[in-house]
Symmetry: C2
Subunit: 277 residues, 2 copies
């Protein structure tokens, strides 16, 4: 019997969705009307996996919603509505849920994405499943698949140590920057850094059929280079463009399909993956 | 410390969503464009709550998706896209997930609602969180709030014993009938029967500010009258209209706000509610 532990998260998702509409970017992009494409995404936040019983409720609510908002940023899209499924045990302290929902309201005021529905059901641990609905001007969503040899590689902020610094619970989804980058018309590929620069850049390389060379001295970091490359949950934007931007330029796209070099040497793969830890 | 068990599901949802956009129908209805309103809904399906380890994977997949499709039917709306969060333990047998996803594909062929994205995360038990996106002609969604004194009360099929008969895992979402009922232009209120006729009708009475008198001899049932009134998960449509329809007519709407009579006597409240069992 093959288990999820045997397969790992990414293989399992690939196998399950092989017969379904292509799912590979941060959000699904679907036709809506003459002006806009519909953007859909979802993220689960699960106790003992993504947060712990001592995490303040506001931080839980922030991470649950802002992970989804960051998915919209990753596409250069505008989030509009959120639907939230809460799972909790009968012994769940109600005030914790009230504080989580109060945070949802605060985030609505900042980012304009409103919780419009959801459900509450019984389960063994506290979970928040946030579904997001939004839009992007027709055909303008920024995908992972457009990077071209010679493009610069940018990140929007320092990477690494998001657990130690608490950034994983306080990060700002880069919606404004994402919109500006999309409107520049020069960004060829974009995503958010959720699994670490080394892992996430590989998604762009694979989707675009290109390679990349990173320059370690240019990677903005909080801790060590190792942490900047492999820690996850930074939620900065990672994008490629032939144009100049006032963001840290960490490397260059090459024509060597799926080859990832750091200072001229092959970079090893290593990343957090659900079920394999 | 007040817990979810102290409050019960309905009070908890009401309290949490008090400051958010009104959430009270089966789906949220939001402005989309000149022609259509956007319809959003979500339902969780949780092991040991909504299904058990011995439930065949196809039945789990069916219930997960068709509960959401039934929410669309409840509004007279058309489901278009589904996003699914799967939660599972590392020891989860992968074939079970493959069979669940194969059922999603079968249901797509029948009902036209396609799984376009989602996530897979680690947790203690198997869960499926299905989020649905769809549409309805502008201003035409059937709500719970339009029932008027003198309307007939209809249900679309026999009620009760859905656990014993297995209907809870095999029901057909009444999308076709729902569309016809909406297009008739005569339906004043509608929802699906998920918590039992007695409980769900009270939602219509409350939302519409009316009362109702049920005629026990007219309630189509699989088992006893008690089971037809209080069992849940029938997923038939419950609707009110002044017009004649070829569906079982189980009672009449009255002007006595929130008074629910069965054969002339007050009907007691009793229903499955999460956290209170």
């Amino acid at each position: 019997m093959k288990t999820l532990k045997d397969m790992g998260e990414h293989n399992a998702i690939a196998a399950l969705t092989a017969n379904l509409k292509a799912v590979g970017d941060d959000c699904a992009v679907l036709p809506l009307d003459d002006q806009y494409d519909l953007i859909l995404t979802s993220d689960p936040l699960i106790e003992n996996v993504h947060f712990f019983s001592e995490t303040p409720p506001e931080r839980i609510g922030h991470k649950a919603v802002c992970r989804v908002l960051s998915d919209f940023a990753a596409m250069g899209a505008e989030p509009q509505y959120l639907v939230v499924n809460v799972v909790a045990s009968p012994a769940q302290d109600f005030q914790t849920l009230e504080r989580i929902y109060a945070e949802f309201s605060s985030l609505w005021e900042i980012y304009g994405a409103e919780v419009v529905g959801g459900d509450l059901a019984q389960g063994p641990v506290l979970e928040l499943h946030v579904f997001g609905v939004g839009r992007v001007p027709k055909g303008k969503a920024l995908l992972r698949s457009g990077a071209k040899s010679g493009d610069h590689i940018y990140v929007t902020g320092p990477l690494g140590c998001s657990q130690q610094t608490g950034k994983q619970f306080r990060f700002e989804p880069r919606l404004e920057w994402a919109k500006e980058l999309r409107e520049s018309g020069t960004v060829t590929a974009m995503m958010d850094v959720s699994d670490g620069l080394a892992t996430d850049l590989r998604h762009i390389l694979k989707a675009s059929g290109v390679g990349a060379e990173l320059d370690s001295s240019e990677i903005p970091r909080v801790g060590t280079l190792e942490e900047a490359l492999y820690d996850g949950e930074d939620f900065e934007l990672l994008f490629t463009s032939p144009a100049e931007f006032d963001f840290p330029k960490v490397g260059t796209i090459t024509g060597n399909t799926e080859e990832l070099l750091l200072d001229g040497n092959p970079l090893k793969a290593k990343a957090f993956e659900h079920f394999r830890k």
